[in-house]
């Protein structure tokens, strides 16, 4: 272990004796391939980044990986990482007074300038409180002292940070690449000037730029009935609305270049290249598709170079071509064909994880599995009936689906997985039961075209949660009793079928966790007390079904909201009116509120809206608002030819010289 000459001492000597007493100690030791350590005093600004979940989930997170590289590439910035520790380790750390630490140099988190957390889901909120508390940082922003880090949230959940506003100093909406550097510059300047105005002086500088939301500079007033009356700045120099950040020209930001490769096993063991950002398909339930607009493609040659260098830098064998709907890249056919050519005969495997119902996707999957096994393909029709799919704007007909799975089963694929949601607005029992009928037709078609009996179809169902900044932000969330009832009816209908029941797998979760996710998604500042109480009573790792307790959350909600006139149902199963001030209305995702409302009305009228990549603009508001535009190809460029950067070890076989050939 290297010793750090200056700065806060490593906690590793105190941690090491505890490691023999916890499960999977490797997750706490750091030292991953491609991790970075810097001298504390050699830099001016220090970030601690966290994905507040277990190491095995947090390490592969793309957002943290990108920021870690971008920040550490600057010689005046240092970035280290921390993750949520498991209960066994938390207990030992409390008992032995070991603070929350970073993995890179085992420094105490409380010593950094910025503690940045990325929230892909609201279910990480309680883990944030554990991390803050173990770090010795007061969990309430109001109690923080001059030397405490600025606690900063990002990620998709930060588009409504109001439920955790009490715990945050600041939040950032949108792409983090450039704003993380801007924030670093502001901090550097403020420190160099002798920290004028103290902590608030820094927060004011950050807020004044318009790109950083500082909750304490905004007051929320409520109406007697519990709805929000007004959200307004409580001082001059801060904007009424805070804007999201949009990175244009992904080709100039080819990160991650060399992501960390852990020794421990993690949920994704692949090198992931984001082939484009944003999606304009317009699925009304999809928060990611709404808040990441417009579409910005990465060029085919940059993708090719990233794949080659990424494999070399990590030794990973799996490459994922990621985006919200990967087959929509304007040059996806060329990308997959050329990558498949390049890696044919090697052990590198390529995958397109996110797939629409489209026979074209089967062609792509065939290309990517030229010499591999054709085991399973996944498609997401999301709704069981055409009516339901019109409501959610998932423009897929039943014939599209049958055409797609016909292509799959006739090309040797044996298993198809179909994703659906339950609890969608206007949904009836019939819409959900139709999922079973669809699955039976899928099996019948599959048996016919493949001539085999051993084909399978797995139906996987998630509970729908209305999200901020989507047309469904006004919708009533379906109560968990109704969701569970529909899922059980569907399960029975599938299992009871003699002809097809055994060929159809059925995966679902009960509806209760979705209700708590709904509370945290569309909540306001009053929800903070519920989060804190649940955490004090033991809520941790709420995204893990074995740790999540609906009963604890519901009881805390009841207690914290007692006498307020509002309750858990008010936050979740209540439909909102147009005029109601929503907790996130002062946070600007670029979407025009009028457009969202019209789209919500179109949903109720079962009217579909096309993708603006191929049809005229529908005025969602993002492009003019952000002064951006969609960036799509085709560029007509080619992947760069593969050049070996590795020396050949073999002195006999020249064919081994490419390293991968």
């Amino acid at each position: 272990m290297t010793t750090i000459a200056t700065g806060p001492a490593s906690v590793f000597p105190r941690l090491e004796p505890l490691l023999a007493r916890v499960s999977k100690p490797i997750q706490y030791v750091g030292g991953e391939l491609n991790s970075v350590t810097k001298e504390w005093e050699s830099v001016e600004v220090r970030w601690c980044l966290s994905y507040p979940d277990a190491y095995e989930v947090g390490l592969p997170n793309q957002g943290i990986a990108i920021l870690y590289e971008i920040l550490n590439e600057q010689d005046w910035i240092l970035a280290e990482r921390t993750y949520a520790v498991w209960g066994d380790m938390e207990a030992l750390m409390r008992q032995h007074g070991v603070p929350q630490f970073t993995l890179d140099s085992h420094r105490p988190v409380g010593e950094f300038d910025v503690f940045g957390l990325s929230f892909a889901t609201e279910l990480g909120y309680t883990n944030m409180l554990t991390e803050l508390d173990l770090a010795g940082i007061p969990i309430h922003a109001a109690d923080r002292r001059e030397h405490d880090p600025i606690v900063l949230a990002g990620g998709h959940a930060a588009f409504n940070p109001e439920p955790i506003a009490d715990f945050l100093d600041a939040a950032v909406l949108g792409d983090g690449e450039q704003i993380a550097l801007t924030i670093s510059e502001v901090i550097r300047e403020w420190k160099a000037e002798g920290r004028p105005g103290g902590r608030d002086g820094l927060l004011l500088r950050l807020a004044a730029g318009g790109g950083v939301y500082v909750p304490k500079f905004y007051d929320v007033d409520y109406l007697p009935d519990g709805r929000i009356h007004r959200v307004a700045p409580n001082r001059s120099g801060v904007p009424f609305r805070v804007a999201k950040h949009t990175l244009m020209d992904l080709d100039n930001w080819p990160y991650p270049k060399k992501p960390l490769v852990p020794l421990a096993e993690t949920v994704h063991e692949r090198y992931a290249v984001e082939i484009f950002r944003g999606c304009t398909r317009g699925c009304r339930f999809c928060q990611a598709g709404m808040i990441t607009r417009p579409v910005r493609e990465r060029s085919i040659d940059v993708i090719g170079a990233m794949v080659q260098r990424g494999i070399e830098a990590t030794g990973l064998e799996e490459v994922g071509l990621l985006s919200l709907s990967s087959s929509d890249h304007s040059e996806i056919g060329e990308i997959t064909r050329q990558l498949a050519d390049r890696y044919e005969g090697s052990n590198v495997s390529l995958s397109l994880p996110s797939t629409r119902v489209d026979a074209f996707n089967v062609d792509l999957a065939n290309e990517l599995s030229r010499n591999g096994r054709r085991s399973g393909l996944t498609f997401a029709p999301e709704g069981g009936t055409e009516r339901m799919r019109k409501v959610i704007n998932k423009m897929v007909t039943e014939d599209d689906l049958i055409r797609t799975i016909t292509a799959a089963y006739s090309h040797g694929w044996r298993q198809v997985k179909l994703y659906f949601m339950c609890g969608l607005p206007t949904e009836t029992d019939e819409d959900v039961l139709a999922i079973g009928k669809l699955a039976k037709r899928v099996i019948a078609t599959g048996r016919e075209v493949s001539g085999r009996r051993d084909i399978r179809c797995t139906v996987s169902i998630g509970g729908f949660v209305p999200k901020p900044h989507t047309p469904f932000q006004w919708a009533a969330q379906c109560d968990h009793e109704t969701v569970d009832d529909r899922l059980i009816k569907l399960r029975d209908a599938i299992r009871g079928d003699r002809e097809y029941g055994r060929a159809i797998g059925f995966r679902y979760h009960d509806g209760k966790p979705s209700i708590i996710e709904g509370l945290l998604s569309r909540g306001d500042r009053r929800v903070a007390a519920i989060i804190e109480t649940a955490w004090r009573e033991g809520a941790r790792f709420d995204g893990w079904s074995e740790h999540f307790s609906y009963e604890r959350w519901a009881a805390c909600a009841e207690r914290c909201l007692e006498g307020s006139g509002i309750d858990l149902d008010w936050y979740t199963t209540r439909e909102r009116e147009y005029a109601e001030v929503l907790p996130w209305d002062h946070l600007d995702a670029g979407l025009d509120r009028e457009w969202l409302w019209e789209d919500w009305q179109d949903a109720l009228d079962e009217v579909e809206v096309d993708d603006c990549r191929w049809t005229p603009c529908f005025d969602c508001g993002v492009c003019p608002q952000l002064d951006t535009t969609i960036q799509i190809g085709p560029t007509g460029r080619k992947l760069l030819p593969l050049v070996s950067s590795s020396h050949a070890l073999s002195h006999a076989d020249k064919s081994a010289r490419t390293g991968w050939g």
Partner: protein, 222 residues
């Protein structure tokens, strides 16, 4: 196919690497180092690697061994350098040599271990060691994948030397395998006053063919 024998060490923080973790990291390192591995045939080919005898998670080691099968003959010294550079710090390749015929496991019949027991005096250790060695068999328990198992920890112990705050043990590899922490449990059985405060730190110092009479260990290839 050329088989190479790899001797590697687990040092510092890397001692917390489990055997599974090491396997994944090693396979990635082989790819990063462009070692022309031979692959098994079948639906999911994997590189030909044989791991005969891995140390437990949490134990450091100066002498772990494995063998790799190559599709094309390579210079062992260059493979050593390339692999060592490709592995994370703490997982260090000590030596690579052309493997000798015969199963590697048969050349690994015993190990010498250092067991650091912070805060325990030589006198305390000596009396526990004497009490333990005076017994013919000492039953200890360990949780295994198949539940709690009871076995004799005494018969595998060839020698125990005492130093200030540490023990040096020579253990024969038997079935079931007796590990240094099993011997510590045995010391506690034989001498109830023996109670380490901090978790002991185990380090395998050497591994090879064990001469039961002299306690000498001859490393593979020597």
């Amino acid at each position: 196919m050329q088989w190479l024998r790899v001797k590697y060490a687990k040092r510092g923080r890397a001692r917390f690497t489990s055997h599974r973790d090491f396997g994944r990291a090693f396979e990635r390192a082989l790819r990063r180092a462009s070692v022309p591995m031979a692959y098994t045939s079948g639906f999911s080919p994997h590189p030909r690697i044989s791991y005969p005898n891995a140390s437990p998670t949490g134990a450091a080691s100066e002498a772990e061994y494995l063998e790799i099968g190559l599709a094309a003959p390579c210079d062992p010294g260059r493979v050593r350098d390339a692999l060592d550079a490709a592995l994370p710090p703490g997982l260090d390749v000590v030596e690579v040599a052309v493997a000798r015929p015969g199963a590697l496991a048969e050349q690994l019949t015993g190990s010498r271990w250092r067991v650091d027991l912070k805060g325990l005096s030589a006198a305390t250790l000596q009396s526990a060691r004497d009490a333990f060695l005076a017994l013919d068999s000492v039953l200890v328990q360990r949780m295994t994948k198949n539940g709690m198992r009871e076995f004799d920890a005494r018969a595998a112990v060839v020698a125990v030397d005492v130093e200030e705050g540490r023990l040096i043990m020579i253990l024969a590899h038997q079935v079931p395998l007796v590990r240094p922490d099993d011997v510590l449990a045995g010391l506690q059985v034989a001498s109830p006053k023996f109670a380490p405060i901090d978790p002991p730190v185990l380090t395998r110092l050497a591994q090879g063919r064990l001469d039961l009479g002299s306690g000498l260990i001859t490393e593979p290839g020597h």
